[in-house]
């Protein structure tokens, strides 16, 4: 699956990872991500998102297939491109007794970057004043900010973020969302794995959904949301069980949701017919509306409620 036009900055071909306990985390995964924009990477817990990211970054060797990052095979020649890639994998990992600034300075030293770069990225993530405090004393949100600062330190072309909003408060989530958007608009390629589907919907241009290690859907956010629209009508009514029985007897697929709500799996063109059928049985609607689709509903439908987010 290729989005847009341009050179692929991340490309997986027949990617497979089977662990020693015979668990297949990724199964024949193919995707290609062109340069620029924000790409969401969704999947239930255990679907293989983090394993895929680890394969991209050379932390895990694929059992078969390959991942290329900026044109280089991740398991062989990552060295020549690693300075163009910033990444946050799962939880923020730093030395707990070192200050945030000191942790970043160590990485800056490895990359030959000046200390002024460390101060710059700390300011970006709002940790300028707390940079001297030990990492162990940081809140989860601050740790997450520091990890994001570390990914920005190299001023990378490609940024891979695994659950960047974990532990952030609502204001922090908004800040990170804005930061990701800014970075995406500046021409960088952002690859974001997230559990927060609402955030992904607001932040990403494109989304890829995997389940059980396999790609099940990908496309622009609008395309994916459109997949779930117009397929269900929500009825508000006083006697939902009677209504559902009548509709089911007429060949509809009606389901009672709660004491006043029934969903019917039909598109909007059948709304009048439903109303007439129920009225003919002395059941009068208090409301009828099309069920709004969201990335979340599409995700749940595509993954068949396979696991929690």
């Amino acid at each position: 699956m290729v989005w847009g036009v341009g050179v692929a900055v991340i490309e997986a071909v027949g990617l497979r990872k089977e662990f020693r306990n015979s668990v297949v985390a990724i199964d024949n995964l193919d995707f290609s991500i062109p340069s620029g924009g924000v790409y969401g990477f969704l999947g239930p817990n255990g679907s293989g998102k983090t394993t895929t990211i680890r394969c991209m970054l050379g932390l895990i060797k694929p059992s078969a297939g390959s991942v290329r990052l900026l044109g280089e095979d991740s398991s062989k020649s990552l060295r020549s491109v690693i300075h163009r890639v910033g990444a946050l994998v799962e939880t923020p990992k730093f030395f707990p007794t070192f200050g945030g600034r000191k942790n970043l300075r160590m990485f800056a030293q490895v990359a030959g970057l000046p200390n002024s770069e460390v101060d710059r990225v700390l300011e970006i993530v709002g940790l300028g004043e707390r940079g001297g405090d030990s990492f162990g004393s940081y809140s989860l949100g601050m740790k997450q900010r520091l990890a994001i600062a570390a990914t920005l330190l190299k001023d990378p072309e490609v940024i891979i973020l695994d659950e960047p909003a974990n532990g952030l408060d609502p204001a922090g989530i908004v800040e990170i969302r804005q930061l990701i958007r800014q970075l995406g608009e500046s021409g960088k390629t952002i690859f974001v794995s997230s559990h927060q589907l609402g955030e992904v919907q607001q932040t990403c241009d494109h989304v890829m959904i995997i389940s059980k290690g396999r790609l099940i859907q990908s496309g622009s956010v609008e395309e994916l949301v459109a997949l779930g629209q117009g397929d269900s009508q929500i009825i508000t009514i006083d006697r939902p069980h009677e209504a559902a029985d009548i509709l089911n007897a007429q060949g509809y697929q009606a389901t009672v949701i709660d004491a006043a709500t029934v969903t019917v799996a039909v598109d909007g063109s059948k709304a009048q017919a439903i109303n007439e059928t129920l009225a003919a049985n002395q059941l009068f609607l208090r409301g009828l509306r099309a069920q709004e689709s969201s990335l979340e509903s599409v995700f749940l439908e595509l993954t068949e409620g396979e696991g929690s987010l």
Partner: protein, 367 residues
Amino acid sequence: MRLFRAELTRFWTRRMTWIVLGVTALIMVFVVGISFTRTSSEAPPEGAVPWTVDEGCLEDFSSGEIQLETGSSGEFTDEDIELFCRTWTGDPDKRFWAVSMLGEKSWFQETESGFGPSEGRPAFDTWSDYIEFRESQPVETMTIDGVEYQGSQEPLLGFLSGPGVFYLILAVILGGSFVGAEFRAGTMENLLLWEPRRVRVILTKFAVGFVSSALMVALALGFLTGLLSLLASVNGTFQAVDGRFWRDLVLVILRVSVTAGLFSILAMSVATITRHTAAAIAAVLGWFAVSNILIELVAKWFRPFELFVNALAFFGKGEPFSYVPTGRGWDFTAFHHGYLVAGLYVLAWTLIPAAIATVVFAKRDLT
């Protein structure tokens, strides 16, 4: 080089490094403080020759106040009595701190009978005299089943090299925690996002651990030397200290430091394989605890090859011995190899696990 500098910075800014260094300094101050209380400023007068015969002791013998029991060696000669009065009177710490630092226990010539030695030894005016005497001693040999075996010298049991296991423990803690902390905090993964060449990463860590642990132990031993110099200047003497003494002292510090550095690599290797600091420390120190028992009970042949035996021999300038059954109910301890070869054995004990750790680290998934 940038990675080396970054790792070096991390090593020397770790809290653990300074805690270990601080605790070590406190222990040394404590030990030397006790030595202060056990010595006195009533040292031999300036210009006095150490180990001179105590005239009062000789008078006690002549008056019959002190009598020696006759042991298997027969009658005691006047020379034996004179030697007794040299070695068993007074407190040597007051007189000759250099000897207490580097001298061997046999300076006191303990024998089974509890009294004088069966062989005479001269008094030594300088450290060089002592070393020359030691090196001039004939080597004991024994022919068993037609094979001539050479006896083995015990290592120096001096103040610096004697408690060498303590310095090795320091190095094991420093090395094991240096790498183990990376796996605990997950920072190894972070580092690989900046330098993906794993072999380079782990070899750099080994190099930094080696250099830093060796330097730290050298610093600790230098500090101890300073404390002992202070002790000697107050309650002792530098009289017999000569150029050779200082050269030997530096060489002992160098050998202990290098050995500590190698032990640090050993601990880092185990920590890399097990991904755990405690496992690394437990493995090395556990081996130290049981190795001697295992050797004595089931694998006497293994003694000359054992890690700690070779380490202690290397920095104590001793000779790891092997057991040779005599067929008379006891074993002869025969020379197996010298202290420099012992150093090579320690190197092998270090490099083999380091090579395994490097391969494991290069191949293993970081999950």
